[in-house]
Assembly symmetry: C2
Homo-oligomer: 159 residues x 2
């Protein structure tokens, strides 16, 4: 069974290639970008300006193939791909939470963008702390690597 | 341009139909389910047991079609579909964060499941508070509806 989606628009950012992209929105403070939604979907943005943050679900269009054991940007050891946020995955789906600066018709101006230019966007959802903030008691291999987050940028290891 | 994904497995839960499903994991405390990953992907789960929570990205297989203005379960007013978490969306992609109880080979036993039985799973990512917790300053139309969350269940409005 195969599931097909049509992008609802494109994400634009200053990052023209895979090198040097912040690896998460929290490493991308103040990086600005925009979403250009296909005009036919503009009415779907009504009331979105009431939220400060949105969840973007998108296709890692520069990734192809995957390995089940992979070395993520934050570590030098291999982990199961589903225990990482690496872009090369069986289904190359990316997830980022960004801040909305403004919305004009079908264009959303965003901030904290850790996404490559011209990435196909699949869905937008409002980020709602009551839904989306969870208290964890185990943070796996990431727990003692997180201090590297702000200074770690992507490289070509997933080429 | 169309993007195709093959499910990596199925999500099993006590919810056999769309009626009565909790509308978010936070309304689904203690509801147990399991993920049966396709065996070929089992090695991708290595080290996932170190995390207490995972993000599931899945296909709303019981949804078809969409309206750009929709009335979500938590409200009686219409909002742009991208300002809601409604299942009927241009791309019917769902997102839930669930708790891991245990992992045995290709099976992940999970808790806080707000997902219909036999939902096709597209991706698993570790939930990492340093990546995934964001401080919002605006929570849109949801802000004064959130008290309804624990008691609101889905109904057939998206049929």
């Amino acid at each position: 069974m195969s599931i097909s989606y049509n992008p609802i628009g494109l994400i634009y950012s200053p990052f023209k290639s895979k090198e040097g992209v912040p690896i998460q929105p929290k490493g991308a403070k103040n990086i600005k970008g925009k979403i250009v939604l296909k005009e036919e979907f503009t009415a779907g943005l009504d009331d979105l300006q009431g939220f400060s943050h949105i969840i973007l679900i998108y296709h890692f269009h520069k990734s192809s193939g995957y390995e089940l054991k992979t070395t993520p940007f934050l570590d030098d050891k291999k982990h199961g791909v589903f225990a990482t946020r690496a872009p090369k995955r069986p289904n190359a789906i990316g997830l980022s939470v960004v801040r909305i600066n403004s919305i004009e018709k079908n264009i959303i101006y965003i901030e904290n963008v850790d996404i490559i230019n011209e990435t196909p966007l699949l869905d937008i959802k409002p980020y709602i702390p009551d839904f989306d903030v969870h208290i964890t008691d185990k943070n796996g291999w990431v727990a003692n690597k997180i201090d590297n987050l702000k200074n770690t940028k992507s490289d070509n290891r997933f080429d």
